[in-house]
Subunit: 256 residues, 2 copies
Amino acid sequence: MTYCCGVLVRDGLVLIADTRTNAGLDNISTFRKLHIFEEPGHHVLGLATAGNLSVSQSVVSLLREGVEDHEAGERHQLRDCRTMFQAAQLVGTAIRQVHKVNGELMEQSGISFEVSFLLGGQILGDCLRLYMVYSAGNFIECTPDTPFLQIGEHKYGKPVLDRAVSYEMEISDALKSSLISMDSTMRSNLGVGLPIDVMVVSPDTLRSELLYRVEPGEPYFHDLRERWSAALRSAHASIPRPPYLKDMRTRRLTEV
Amino acid sequence: MTYCCGVLVRDGLVLIADTRTNAGLDNISTFRKLHIFEEPGHHVLGLATAGNLSVSQSVVSLLREGVEDHEAGERHQLRDCRTMFQAAQLVGTAIRQVHKVNGELMEQSGISFEVSFLLGGQILGDCLRLYMVYSAGNFIECTPDTPFLQIGEHKYGKPVLDRAVSYEMEISDALKSSLISMDSTMRSNLGVGLPIDVMVVSPDTLRSELLYRVEPGEPYFHDLRERWSAALRSAHASIPRPPYLKDMRTRRLTEV
């Protein structure tokens, strides 16, 4: 499994990805899933991947080496895109190209051609944007109404994002939220694990503000996990108990 | 969708189920999913259902009217079972009987024969127990190591149970935890909704301690939702911000 999350607030962009891959429970490895494409002053892009690793790696390689445009006889790299929309389109084209080569036999072998991407960043002349690209190459863009997107094992980490994240929050709070969301996911799904890769981009700087790997035992993240657990337990304790059992004014529903 | 949760602690059993069913997003209804089988002094059983409604309703009807045992030429009702293990077996037998009649054509029509049950309660002479029964009729029993079981949309509501529930907690805290877990699920999945049915059984009483329906607008549950949201927000606020951005001692990972 995988968990990746992108948060896009007024103050900037956070991309976060775990590094655990597994082929069955007995074959677990560490692979980078957050890929950086950066030319300071020109573009800064992060691409987080989920799904079949052979597919996502091929897509990333095509984006670096160039996706063939047979009609024009050209190859397009991610660095050549002039807008974030074009960059998301190119990710889609790369997915379809990999599908054309590998899709049929993979599906015949019962391996689903499943992959998804978070593409976030900024290109000179465009704004800071965040997209989610699906297996078919179609995509959606993140907007201020729901300023985050998730791929992979998204459910465990969603409640905290639903409650804590808003477009007006500061970037360091957005980063904190995404780390708490990652913690909730790791706690409930063994297929998501440390280390965690983090990228932060501030608007109109055209360079990464932060590229960081949270390793096992890293003091801040360890402390965050402990504090979040303790805070949840105390939040739980602070809520009054249900009055239903005390006053026993039960409405009987069915008796057989 | 559906969310049902059972918590079995030393102090008693909680079963909780939402009531929303949907055939597509444009066909939403309210159906009871928590079924009570009770003869005070003899047995008290709750059966929570998830999955295909036609299958789960047929199973419940068979358990009330009697599951045919062709070899012995008898019919067995849930009320005839002498242990909770026998009751879980009978639920399994009923599922297989429905599968025999409806399974083939459902699957030919592309409708998956998917159903699951939480069966909890006590029968005179046996202990208070909780089981989860799968589509194939096989089942597992809840034990003190992980004193809860979930069916349906289980992921959103699991982090709070993982952190808050322990076998030694009081029954009213177990009820509170299950209501918070239900709240987290409802907030993230529109397919899970009010009203919520609740059953509480204390050990060796052989009657339900509480049979209650939480209706929309019910003051305690409304207050719990507000308090939990506020507590999560303040828990989030109480955690220090990541130092990564402040000190900018970034480890650069890749630059292209």
